[in-house]
């Protein structure tokens, strides 16, 4: 424990209002060097207002009151803050698309670091290189010479983190910096961040939506809702027993090893039968005999395909539903051998498949809410409007969108609403197979719990087979009975999820379970 504790930030009665709407109501806290403060809450919690004030980019119309004391300086009114005495560095996440898509990542980050230090670009580049080398798992400096579109989210996260650290911050303000990443990545990045924090002694203020990052960072937590502090305390203490009902709901989203798995529902005849499938990525080399996949998915069952990005899960799903031709093996979907079907026939077969994904742009943004739900019935079955509206009402009630204005275009909906809309559309199309692809990505903890319930409800009532693609064992644990664990295009472990969680055999499986659930059940 450091004897000399350096005060970094002391905020007193900070309030932010816009017009007659209070975004933040009298927030007070203090932060010392080397400490971490987590802000938990949903999109309207007011954390964004706090970050705006601290980062110095308040919007026109923001009415700020309260005082801030930075470092060892005097208390200043927050409204007139022009220059915090300390070096505060802002760290966005790759999900916010913070970089210009036409220039290289390296040049942009160099520029940022150079501007902070007031130094030439060449020395900023060296600072960046040193910062990257200190982070295990980060890409090399040369690898960053590409455009943001050419790098994946993991590399971008490391790059942004290195750029922030290269600016030698005293206060690091992270704005959902690791949202949407897989649990193993978050674990690695947070470990590196904490190590750097111990070394340099900066204070960390992290605004989080989901709980995955918070569970890795731990530290002090402030739970915000509608601008007010609901609860404050240490993360572990809050996770064990919480006072406020809202906090309890938030923490329900945190997957625990001992959580109950979904009950084995009544299972029917085989829906999907796979024999000796060689679903390699385009251009990959042929699989060995024993790596080829054979399995059976019955109606109403649920199977999780767990693995990191690029481990071959999605290639497999595409081969299973007929979007890609495979070289070896046989796939029988709904008693039909897929290889004898033409592309048009396969498309017709796919009408009974529903998709629920974490991609925000999976729905056509031009369509209205009602039309999105109606379309499967009207396009595939040619039903009239009156017949369809009854189904539509039921589906929307079940997902909680019934009170929304039905003529809203999808583009104006929030990500959570879009997610629920996908579930409503799935309900209406009465699928025999539902492909669930990272359904909880980017949602706040509250919404994640609701989403899990909705998917469970979908499975119980409509009874489709679930094919779950995820990197988060927690998601699989909530929704799947069986699991395949993937690594580098091959299945490394398979079987009932309950058994695997109790006794994981493969190294990769263990790694994935640990990252998501905190500890194995061993």
């Amino acid at each position: 424990m450091n004897d000399t504790v350096k005060p970094v930030l002391a905020v007193r009665d900070l309030s932010v209002a816009r017009g007659d709407h209070t975004e933040l109501d009298k927030l007070s806290f203090s932060l010392n060097g080397g400490e971490t403060l987590l802000l938990l809450g949903d999109d309207r919690s007011g954390a964004d207002a706090l970050l705006r004030v601290l980062g110095g980019f308040t919007r026109r119309g923001d009415d700020v009151s309260g005082t801030i004391r930075a470092g060892t300086g005097d208390e200043m009114p927050a409204a007139r803050r022009t220059n915090l005495g300390i070096r505060a560095v802002y760290l966005p996440g790759p999900a916010a698309a913070p970089l210009n898509p036409h220039a290289s990542v390296l040049s942009q980050l160099e520029r940022v670091v150079a501007r902070r230090h007031g130094s030439p670009r060449a020395s900023a580049r060296e600072e960046l290189r040193i910062a990257l080398e200190r982070l295990p798992g980060a890409p090399s400096l040369e690898a960053l010479g590409q455009k943001p579109g050419a790098l994946d989210a993991i590399a971008l996260t490391w790059a942004l983190l290195a750029a922030a650290l290269a600016q030698a911050p005293e206060l690091l303000i992270a704005d959902h910096a690791f949202a949407g990443l897989s649990p193993t990545t978050i674990k690695a990045v947070v470990a590196a961040l904490t190590a750097e924090q111990a070394r340099s002694g900066f204070a960390l203020l992290y605004s989080a939506r989901g709980l995955q990052t918070a569970a890795n960072i731990r530290g002090r937590v402030i739970v915000l809702r509608h601008g007010r502090v609901i609860e404050e305390g240490d993360f572990d203490k809050l996770a064990r027993g919480q006072a406020h009902a809202y906090t309890r709901t938030l923490f329900k989203a945190l997957p625990r090893p001992g959580d109950a798995l979904p009950a084995r529902s009544m299972r029917g005849e085989p829906l999907l039968q796979v024999h000796g499938l060689d679903a390699r990525a385009p251009g990959g080399k042929a699989m060995r005999q024993r790596d080829r996949l054979s399995f059976e998915l019955r109606r109403g069952a649920s199977l999780a395909l767990i693995g990191e990005e690029g481990s071959g899960r999605r290639t497999l799903v595409r081969a299973l539903i007929g979007l890609e031709r495979f070289t070896e093996g046989r796939v029988v979907l709904d008693q039909v051998d897929m290889s004898i079907l033409s592309a048009a026939m396969t498309a017709r077969l796919r009408r009974r498949i529903a998709f629920v994904t974490g991609q925000d742009d999976a729905l056509d943004p031009r369509m209205t809410l009602w039309d999105t739900v109606d379309e499967p019935l009207r396009a595939h079955l040619g039903l009239s409007r009156e017949l369809v509206s009854g189904h539509r009402e039921t589906a929307l009630k079940r997902v909680g969108l019934a009170s929304h204005n039905g003529k809203t275009p999808v583009a104006l909906l929030s990500p959570f609403d879009k997610r629920r809309l996908q579930v409503a559309r799935a309900i209406v199309s009465a699928p025999f197979l539902a492909v669930i692809d990272e359904p909880l990505r980017g949602l706040d903890a509250f919404s994640q719990s609701i989403m899990k319930e909705l998917l469970d409800d979908l499975r119980k009532q409509e009874g489709p087979a679930f094919l779950i693609v995820t990197a988060d064992v927690g998601v699989a644990q909530a929704l799947a009975e069986d699991a395949f664990f993937f690594k580098a295009g091959k299945v490394v472990e398979r079987g009932p999820l309950r058994e695997i969680l109790k006794n994981p055999k493969d190294e990769e499986t263990r790694r994935l379970i640990e990252a998501a659930l905190g500890e194995t059940l061993l």
Binding site: L363, D364, R366, L412
Partner: protein, 274 residues
């Protein structure tokens, strides 16, 4: 949440005001045109009504031209002729331009690309010259149709590219994965892009077509007396307007007002090539 692109922009109110002004203006012109027989004192192309080349005065509000025609009546009649020629041209431009573009983008790929290529070459020629060519190949009576066809390639290419962007978007990928047919995707385009914007597309087409029509008749390829339109009137005044400004100014202002209102009704950010 760091980015909210969905909040309504404050400039929307100015856009709405201008758009309404555009439609109101077009409405006024329509009223003036349909009442032209009542508003004007003489029939079209009636010569020697007053002194030749008289400046605007109490009796002749817009003056008279070189043949003694009352400029006020002539301008109103001319406006009517221009509007009546522009309307069918607008419909043709809409059908063979924007509508055809959306449909073509959803056709099987080789056919779509071939159409796009051919129309793309046509859009590389100035619309004015294209219209003149069509009139030359057919006859003067075809001026309206020619103007509509000439204004179409540009709109076709734009609608085609809009539909193509939608085609490449992720939601189309998911739609195809869920078995949605190309026909349904085309229906989506038509319902959401076309009908949403059909009024402003029509206004935009009206502006483009009016410019082409008036220029074509200015160059002598279209209507003849007594059905003179505004372009022909301005051409006829070419000799005298330097001394008698009113012979060209009033028809020109009427023409500009029609084009301006059509542009405003189409939306703030528009502006067609001349």
């Amino acid at each position: 949440m760091t980015m909210t692109a969905t909040a309504p922009r404050p400039a929307a109110s100015l856009e709405t005001v201008l758009r309404t002004a555009g439609w109101v203006g077009l409405g006024l012109i329509a009223v003036a045109v349909s009442l032209s027989d009542f508003l004007t004192s003489v029939p079209a192309d009636a010569t020697n009504i007053g002194p030749l080349l008289a400046a605007p005065s109490e009796s002749f509000r817009f003056g008279t031209d070189v043949l003694g025609r009352d400029m006020l009546s002539e301008t109103l009649h001319g406006l009517g002729v221009t509007v009546r020629a522009a309307l069918p041209a607008t419909l043709i431009a809409l059908a063979t331009g924007a509508l055809a573009g959306f449909v073509a983008a959803r056709l099987p790929r080789p056919l779509a690309l071939a159409l796009r290529g051919i129309i793309g070459i046509l859009s590389a020629v100035p619309a004015l010259l294209l219209a003149i060519l069509i009139i030359g190949l057919t006859s003067r009576g075809w001026a309206s149709i020619a103007a509509g066809l000439a204004a179409a390639p540009f709109a076709f290419v734009r609608a085609f590219e809009q539909a193509e962007t939608q085609e490449r978007a992720r939601h189309s990928e998911y739609a195809r994965a869920a078995g949605i047919s190309a026909m349904t995707l085309l229906r989506r385009d038509l319902v959401y892009e076309f009908t949403d914007t059909v009024l402003s597309s029509a206004a935009r087409a009206l502006a483009a077509v009016t410019i082409i029509l008036s220029t074509v008749s200015f160059l002598g390829f279209a209507a003849e007396p007594p059905h003179r339109d505004l372009g022909l009137m301005i051409a006829a005044s070419k000799g005298a307007f330097l001394q008698a400004w009113w012979t060209a100014a009033f028809p020109a202002v009427a023409l500009m007002l029609l084009i301006l209102f059509a542009r405003l009704a189409a939306g703030l950010n528009e502006g067609e090539r001349a």
